[in-house]
Symmetry: C2
Subunit: 499 residues, 2 copies
């Protein structure tokens, strides 16, 4: 056995532990009875602790060193060893006790958050969040940074991306979208989204969502959909990818568009290079690129006119009592594209969405640098909602308590959503050159060519390229807001008659 083989066999076992923790987390959010909470937190803590301990042993470092010398420089194994080294160097900076404590505290905080949100009681969640912020600061400092803790955390989700670059992108975005939203806000009534709020049977919504996922290419022999408080996608291997959704009787878009979104994530996970399964290479390259896939299927497909021309008959067949003769594909194409400053991020339109992210990004940065106390978070949240979107959350459940992320310790994660929007739009411009009749394909319900393109150009690479390098390799340009701004101006200009 070569040292490379030995290293890969160790990495495979560590992957298994992380994936086992993934299954336990999925269960926690889908089926686990409340009584399981305490021991589940211990189980997750033990798994993460052990994975960290096994990975950060001196002998792994020695194996990496020998394997680096052993592998042909441009072999796949060399890529795997390089990724392992990057992860190893980072992991070595984190004390095992901190990793274990973060896993336990976040597992416990999840249910506190669920209950606090249900009761709209921020004070109930504040102590958990306080602990998580303190541990996250400890984590950022352990990882190391040049005076900006956010850099250390962002790098975990978006390898190589800097906080300053995120700020620049937001500045670019704000400059272009503030006037656009301003112009739209004078003609808000031009688009009517009330058709989404009629009475839609929940079971049929779920069935329709699964059908759309299948038509997009989700392979249900290698995945499934369940319900959870907060929708998510979790891949335990390319052969087992779970998505979740939530459904409301008078909210057609919530389950339907949410399922399209999670399907986009799932298609990436199902398309990862399975021949490298249980190595670091069989992973997404970043959350930003992950989000570009979900937003691609949710927005660029699911919110396109061509898709709705194809899909409208299916909607009508699913809800014959609800869809009237006065409705057409255009009714729903317009409805799902209404721009309206609103309270909930995951239900926001494509334009105002990024301001939800900007707000969170700024608050997180302030928390990490000690400029903002956890107790003052609701007031700060509400003030920024007023500044960026001109609205005031009536309750904390509809404000600062809405997202799962902080309860899970995912601080530094939010900017990847906006990066995903931008990357998605940038990819779409390239795709349209390669597949000029994409719209005609969507109208015929043919999503295979798009999926094939994504499989070939994004999915199959796994973690081979850093996110910025991958995007530049595929689109010929660095990540920027330009394509998104062009797309938004064109689409919303037409929808709101601004041209």
């Amino acid at each position: 056995m070569t040292k490379t083989t030995e290293l890969k066999s160790r990495l495979a076992e560590i992957t298994d532990l992380h994936r086992a923790a993934g299954v336990l987390s999925w269960d926690h959010e889908t089926y686990m009875p409340p009584g399981g909470l305490g021991t589940r937190a211990e189980q997750l803590s033990t798994l993460e602790k052990l994975a960290h301990e096994l990975f950060t042993r001196e002998e792994i470092g020695a194996l990496i060193e020998t394997a680096t010398a052993e592998c042909a420089p441009d072999s796949d194994d060399a890529v795997i060893v390089r990724l392992a080294k990057r992860d190893y160097d980072k992991a070595r900076k984190l004390p095992t006790a901190l990793v274990a404590r973060l896993a336990r505290e976040t597992a416990l905080a999840h249910d506190v958050w669920v209950q606090a949100r249900r009761e709209s009681n921020f004070a109930k969640f504040a102590p958990s969040l306080q602990t998580i912020v303190a541990l996250t600061i400890e984590k950022a400092d352990a990882l190391g940074h040049n005076g900006c803790r956010y850099d250390a955390l962002l790098d975990n989700y978006e390898q190589g991306m800097k906080t300053a670059a995120v700020r620049d992108i937001f500045t670019q975005l704000k400059a272009a979208t503030v006037p656009l939203i301003q112009a739209i806000s004078e003609r808000l009534e031009a688009v009517d989204d009330s058709p989404l709020r009629r009475d839609y049977d929940e079971a049929r919504q779920l069935a329709l969502g699964e059908s759309v996922a299948r038509q997009f290419g989700f392979d249900f022999t290698r995945g499934r959909q369940d319900k959870s408080v907060h929708p998510f996608c979790a891949g335990f291997s390319p052969g087992d990818v779970r998505i979740t959704t939530r459904v409301g009787r008078n909210e057609l878009a919530m389950a339907l568009m949410g399922t399209m979104h999670e399907t986009g994530h799932a298609l990436y996970e199902q398309g990862l290079p399975v021949e490298f399964d249980r190595t670091p290479l069989c992973n997404s390259t970043s959350l930003g690129v992950h989000e570009s896939q979900s937003r691609m299927w949710e927005n660029l497909v699911g919110r396109s006119r061509a898709f709705w021309r194809y899909f409208f008959p299916q909607l009508r067949a699913a809800f014959p009592e609800t869809i009237t003769d006065a409705d057409s594909s255009e009714t729903f194409y317009r409805a799902v594209n209404k721009v309206m400053p609103s309270l909930i991020r995951v239900e926001a339109d494509e334009l105002t969405y990024n301001f939800h992210i900007l707000l969170r990004f700024e608050l997180e940065d302030d928390l990490l640098e000690g400029r903002l106390a956890v107790a003052d978070l609701p007031a700060a949240w509400n003030a920024k909602m007023q500044t960026y979107l001109g609205i005031n959350p009536p309750t904390d459940a509809l404000g600062v308590l809405q997202d799962i992320h902080w309860s899970g310790g995912s601080i530094g994660y939010f900017p990847t959503y906006t990066l995903g929007n931008l990357i998605g739009a940038q990819l779409a411009e390239t795709i349209l050159v390669a597949l000029p009749d994409l719209d005609a394909q969507f109208e015929r319900g043919e999503f295979g060519p798009l999926l094939d393109w994504l499989r070939t150009n994004i999915h199959r690479h796994g973690r081979r390229y850093e996110p910025a390098a991958l995007v530049e390799r595929v689109t010929g340009r660095p990540i920027s807001a330009e394509a998104f701004v062009r797309y938004a101006k064109q689409k919303f200009g037409e929808l709101y008659g601004l041209n």
Copy 2:
């Protein structure tokens, strides 16, 4: 930190790993998509391997030794350390590679078995079973025995029980029940079970089963019920106990009696001493005692006349179109107690059930001692079915392929079912002395007194006493077939008018 505390903290982490594996297995049998199989097998193998590695380290042995000296002899900690020592000494005999290989092979074999059973194709399952039998022989020999491999395996499920003792009990049972079954077989038509095979909506069957479980005392905030191919109960802590069931439109007893059975297991798991959670003490003492709990609720409660007097109105309310005015509680009391030699163990009546076990016990013993080849198993199975029950399985799906156990490597496990039947009847005689108006309580739907008695006398002890010692402590007698035989003669004599 004392060495005892350190030992307990290590044991807690090892428990977490086993429980994580338990959650992964539960998911495997309930929700996992088929594509997850390969990686799930790797995950389970890694978890079991790591748990074994961590537990069998020299330093655990040293901790046990110091802790033994440290603890007050009659403290709870002394019990925990003693149990740890027993498990440690056994585990040290098993090579880690064997543990890992058994975990992987059995995870893979599960789906092979499911498919082989679906197609009634024993040849498809034979290679997996061949591997499992070979590994099990290796395991038995590693554990050590005095020329009887079955002893080494049985001890894993029923601590302290010997194969020779099981044989004696079967001899006792055969002597008493063969004439009883003989007498009944001349009057088979005296009991009509066709009411169970009418048309019962599946969703309402599931709801009714859950309702019964709740009335028996199953706490759904600390557990749940799902569907699986083969019903089972899995406890991940007293706070998270899962049961599964299966349901058939024309088979009322399958889901209903199955749910009562698994509820009996679950009540034991929910009643374990949670103050010792994540130690070896917070475990059932044996599978035989576990089965005494499931058979208690399934048979001694669920197949009693008193229960049906209480429950019949609920059944009628659930299926108003199916239950007619000609029906009464007696119709169903008699139906669920029909004796009829039949093909499927889990659907067998209380009398013929034990012959299903005897058959498996003998076949396993023959396989382990090399007197029977895997390839010859179907023929041997069918021959014994003819000898013991006078029937011939028309297909292997209804014969040798029916049980999940062998695919999971659970060889040596089956006798605990019969032990459970006997222990259950023996406990019932003692309970009736303590709670003489138990039947009147059942008729009023009061199951709390019975549950309280079981909690106090069985559940709360966890693994403190060996199974034989626990039974003798509670009933004043060693485990034997006597109480069961008295119960069976009385009940079936009355039902079939034999007296």
